[in-house]
């Protein structure tokens, strides 16, 4: 229809340049239109006869538009466009040959549909005008001679890499355009800006032909599962599972996490509307130390088309380390005893405590493997930074020397440790923290006034963030969990702590009878570490007022202490940006190396000892990163699919500085089973950003005509007249016809 009305394909108007071929200047056209318009205005109003109201104006507009159209045609409008010279240019036809193209849709696979499009008309039509180079591509492009060589068997498709490869191969050829036939299932997660820039620099349009349904009929697909890459052994973890479904809206499905086939946790979820992204948290205990491969799945429902995309695997390194927490307490109190008991019940934590029993005596506990400090609280970085977490109880701020206060700040900021400030009669505002350097560490703005510590019983309730927090999770169901907290025994006391600082997260409020609720548990990130306030010393009533078998108190405190230390880095901290290589092989291993004072070490020897999935050991050296002190990195190829464990060891001279373990996993064929609906968005974007056009399989026949309009390759510039477009005559007819009809209706003919 478009071509009938406008005489040329849409691509001509998209890519061409509008020109006026008459020798007269443009201003004369504008002046002519204005002059004629003015004359007509005078004429219409002078001889308006029975025309009343706005009717003369309508007649004037229609007549002026008609005259303007005639004048425009006198100026000879045309389109100037570059076209590829016949038989002098090359067109690359790239066909996606990955496994997702083998998906059956209707009576044919996507690959068969593509072959049909090519063989029926497209290749022949292109061959009449251009030299055609046919490629198949998966991870990389490979030139083929005929469509019969397509097998739809490649384990992955990388459109960007393959395009770059074809561009490189044809660098010396007059490549006029690329035709890409695909379902858009790209394993790299998109096409890089570098690739797009390279194509645009050469002005090569990439025309895309999409295959595959826009959406499946009956399918549930997990699109992502976010988990920490490491955690302390026996930790409660939260997986945020994102999925979408088609055809099962409103039904219930079972969300589950398994390790080596053993069910760790499951939860029934109600499925949202078709195509809507749904995110659900799933809590579980990942168990003992060691790398754990976790399978997160939505159990298949009857009639699902694709069950492979119902599960994903994630690797979590359950660390065997036992982080150490130093607890400084300024006075004997019940909270101290019950916190200690909670820590003792946790095999993954070590709590060393210092308690001021009298004015001049400190009682040390939990220093079995290390000597207690000689002079009370540590005053050297290497002594304090040996701990992963710090709890400060009912201790006045000025009990700490200036050096110690600076160290405490650096404990979170530089060392990356977690600090918890407890309530109490010498704590927080009562302990003079407001006017000490430690105030900066607190996630709350303390009140100026004293008398903020109240030995009155008070309840507690979760905030919205608290409902989502692992620290406060006692039972998995969020609603039941929130109800559990409100029905807990009351706290024995509480501190008023003022306002929550911007950026801090308030997890729990204390709700004293007859008074406003105030923050109870607040956390925030500080520097490389984190800080928290728990504004009470009365949570021991959660233990004394519940059955002795109840573990609520211990569970809460263990989760709070694990929050403090689970992300505290060691002196050597390894990482990789993508712990799951989905159909990829290349990864970066990175390490940060610090000394005992946690200052960056730039002259270390850093090695990664990698154990591959088949158990073979291999090593590689990490090299310093320029302009980033203490950082080391290495690129590596994961040759085989499976789980890898890399132990990173750093040393200086003959001293070992530390070691860390990084786990990652290579999975093949992942993307071919996921996002199996046509990724039309990607194909359209690729086409539009390179000056090409997206075609569906049904209108791919037009491509052969439109592909000629390209700035790349060997071109010639054509000028195409516009005055004889049918739409022009239709417009003229419409203008005159409208005036006639109106005049008839108004009785002024």
């Amino acid at each position: 229809m478009f071509e009938f009305l406008f005489k040329y394909p849409g691509a001509v108007f998209q890519k061409g340049q509008f020109v006026l071929l008459a020798p007269w200047p443009l201003w004369m056209l504008a002046a002519g239109v204005l002059a004629v318009g003015g004359l007509l205005l005078w004429h219409v109003f002078r001889y308006r006869g029975a025309l009343t109201g706005g009717r003369p104006l309508v007649i004037w507009l229609l007549e002026t538009a008609m005259i303007a159209l005639v004048l425009l045609l006198l100026w000879h409008p045309a389109i100037s466009i570059a076209t590829l010279r016949p038989q002098q240019n090359v067109v690359a036809v790239m066909v996606d040959d990955s496994r997702s193209m083998a998906i059956q849709e209707g009576s044919q696979t996507r690959s068969a549909q593509a072959v049909g499009v090519l063989d029926r008309k497209l290749l022949a039509a292109l061959g009449q005008k251009f030299q055609v180079r046919l490629y198949r591509f998966g991870k990389e492009a490979e030139r083929i001679q005929k469509t019969g060589q397509l097998k739809a068997s490649e384990p992955a498709s990388r459109i960007g890499d393959s395009l770059q490869q074809v561009m490189a191969e044809s660098a010396t050829l007059p490549l006029g355009a690329v035709v890409l036939l695909s379902d858009g299932a790209d394993n790299a997660g998109g096409i890089g800006l570098d690739t797009i820039s390279q194509i645009r620099r050469r002005h090569i349009p990439v025309h895309t032909i999409g295959f595959g349904r826009a959406k499946p009929e009956r399918d549930i697909e997990i699109t992502d599962a976010v988990l920490p890459t490491h955690a302390l052994a026996d930790s409660r973890l939260s997986a945020l599972v994102t999925f979408r479904q088609y055809g099962f809206a409103g039904q219930k499905a079972l969300l589950a996490v398994r390790s080596a086939g053993k069910l760790l946790a499951s939860r029934e979820v109600q499925l949202k509307s078709d195509g809507a992204q749904q995110s659900e948290p799933l809590l579980f205990n990942a168990g003992l130390a060691g790398p754990q491969t976790l399978e997160i799945s939505v159990d298949p429902l009857p009639g699902e088309e694709n069950r492979v995309n119902n599960s994903v695997r994630r690797l979590v390194n359950m660390e065997s380390r036992k982080p150490r927490i130093l607890y400084m307490e300024g006075e004997p109190r019940w909270e101290f005893k019950f916190i200690r008991r909670a820590a003792e019940d946790d095999r993954s934590l070590q709590l060393a405590s210092m308690l001021r029993t009298t004015q001049n005596k400190i009682y040390y506990q939990g220093f079995a493997d290390a000597h207690p400090p000689d002079d009370g609280f540590p005053a050297k970085p290497e002594d304090l930074f040996a701990y992963d977490g710090l709890i400060i109880g009912s201790v006045e701020a000025n009990y700490f020397t200036q050096t110690q206060q600076d160290l405490i700040r650096e404990f979170a900021n530089r060392r990356g440790g977690g600090i918890l400030f407890l309530g109490g009669r010498f704590a927080l505002a009562e302990g003079g923290y407001l006017h000490s350097p430690l105030a900066e560490l607190l996630p709350v703005r303390l009140p100026e006034s004293k008398g903020t510590f109240h030995r009155d019983f008070a309840g507690q309730e979760l905030t919205a963030q608290g409902r989502a927090s692992l620290i406060c999770r006692l039972v998995e169901d969020p609603e039941r969990n929130a109800a559990r907290w409100t029905s807990m025994p009351q706290l024995a006391n509480y501190n008023e702590v003022g306002e929550v600082k911007p950026g801090a997260v308030e997890l729990m409020k204390v709700t004293p009878a007859g008074h406003h609720a105030t923050p109870l548990l607040v956390t925030e990130n500080y520097g490389r570490g984190r800080t928290a306030v728990f504004a009470t010393s009365g949570s021991w009533r959660w233990k004394m007022w519940q059955d002795h078998s109840d573990v609520t108190h211990a569970t809460f405190w263990q989760q709070l202490m694990r929050y403090l230390v689970s992300d505290s880095p060691g002196r050597v901290s390894g990482s990789t940006p993508r712990p799951v290589l989905a159909d990829e092989t290349r990864l970066t291993i990175r390490a940060e190396v610090r000394d005992k004072s946690f200052k960056p070490v730039s002259n270390a020897v850093v090695e990664a000892h990698i154990v591959t999935p088949d158990g073979a050991p291999t090593s590689l050296e990490l090299t310093p990163v320029a302009a980033e002190e203490g950082a080391y990195t290495a690129e590596w190829n994961a040759e085989k699919p499976g789980s890898y464990v890399a132990e990173i060891v750093a040393g200086r001279d003959k001293e070992e500085l530390g070691r860390d373990v990084v786990v990652f996993r290579r999975e093949d064929g992942v993307a071919e089973n996921f996002h199996t609906a046509q990724n039309r968005e990607l194909l359209e974007k690729l086409a539009s950003e390179t000056g090409g056009r997206y075609y569906s399989a049904s209108d791919a026949g037009k491509l052969a005509d439109e592909i000629s309009y390209s700035e790349a390759g060997i071109t010639t510039r054509e000028t195409k007249d516009l005055w004889d477009m049918p739409v022009v005559f239709l417009l003229a007819l419409l203008l005159r016809g409208s005036e006639w009809v109106l005049r008839r209706r108004w009785g002024v003919v």
């Binding site: 300024g330 006075e331 004997p332 109190r333 019940w334 101290f336 005893k337 019950f338 200690r340 008991r341 003792e344 308690l355 001021r356 029993t357 009298t358 004015q359 005596k361 009682y363 506990q365 009669r425 030995r455 009155d456 019983f457 025994p489 009351q490 024995a492 010393s537 021991w540 009533r541 233990k543 004394m544 007022w545 519940q546 059955d547 002795h548």
Partner: protein, 266 residues
């Protein structure tokens, strides 16, 4: 009779309070030795710790104590003199007055340190035994004192073995932290009651050998600290009297403080 009614009324009052899970405040009960005794001006202060005295029934073991039973022995002077030492010698936020609790209500769960005297004359009901067991398993600490000889030991066993039928009573090892948490009490002496003034003996009945015994929880922590054949209560009560030897008072204070700090740290 009036006294018994008063005690029963007090039980009811305490129980009703406990129903609302509100911490009971100080309440003065009639004593049997030091009645009346002046109430300190800050007796109602809210503190972290208070000397919590168990009000228990003596039943058929009341003996010379009569209907009121043996629980208020040394009360309240011993309690109030001892807490002055706790205040002066430690950083524990301590109330000047004692707290009397029974095992018929839940108020005891607000006081994780509990003291009972003359437990050679106690007679807990089954319900009280169950309450004490639950209290101890939740993390409470019980110190009992001032009972002597094999007869009173057997009376003590009658009740405590219904609290913990399956847990042995053991001698506390000298190396146990309870003897070292604040004061090193590896060397101890027998602390006599004031009968020492009249008899010159530091022992009573056939209890010539002092014992520091305990019942432990599954983690090896002392739940019940048993001061047998000794009378720390009298040593606290008569610490201000020139006739009572300082060395006994000194050990009794140190022992009591160690037991409190142990209870607050283990």
């Amino acid at each position: 009779m009036r006294r018994r009614l008063f005690i029963r009324g007090s039980f009811v009052a305490l129980s009703v309070t406990a129903l609302f899970a509100l911490q009971a405040t100080f309440r003065q009960f009639p004593g049997i030795e030091d009645d009346p005794y002046p109430v300190p001006p800050d007796a109602y202060e809210k503190t972290e710790w208070a000397f919590t005295r168990l009000m228990y029934p003596s039943g058929r073991h009341a003996s010379v104590f009569g209907e009121i039973g043996s629980w208020p022995t040394d009360y309240p002077k011993a309690d109030r003199q001892f807490v002055q030492g706790v205040r002066r010698l430690t950083r524990i936020h301590t109330r000047s007055s004692e707290q009397v609790v029974d095992l018929d209500a839940d108020e005891v769960f607000n006081w994780p340190w509990l003291y009972a005297v003359e437990v050679g004359h106690w007679s807990l009901t089954d319900a009280e035994c169950a309450k004490m067991r639950e209290y101890l398993l939740r993390g409470g600490f019980f110190m009992c004192d001032d009972f002597h000889g094999s007869g009173e030991w057997n009376v003590f066993l009658e009740s405590i073995q219904r609290v913990f039928p399956d847990r042995p009573i053991l001698e506390i090892d000298n190396q146990d932290p309870i003897f070292h948490v604040l004061y090193n009490l590896g060397q101890r002496v027998q602390v006599p009651g004031i009968q020492y003034w009249y008899t010159g003996r530091i022992w009573e009945k056939d209890g010539k050998t002092p014992h520091w015994r305990a019942i432990y929880d599954d983690a090896g922590r002392v739940m019940v600290a048993i001061c047998f054949n000794q009378d720390n209560g009298d040593a606290w009560e008569w610490s201000d009297h020139p006739r009572y030897p300082e060395r006994y008072t000194s050990q009794a204070y140190r022992m009591g403080i160690n037991y409190i700090i142990y209870a607050m740290t283990h």
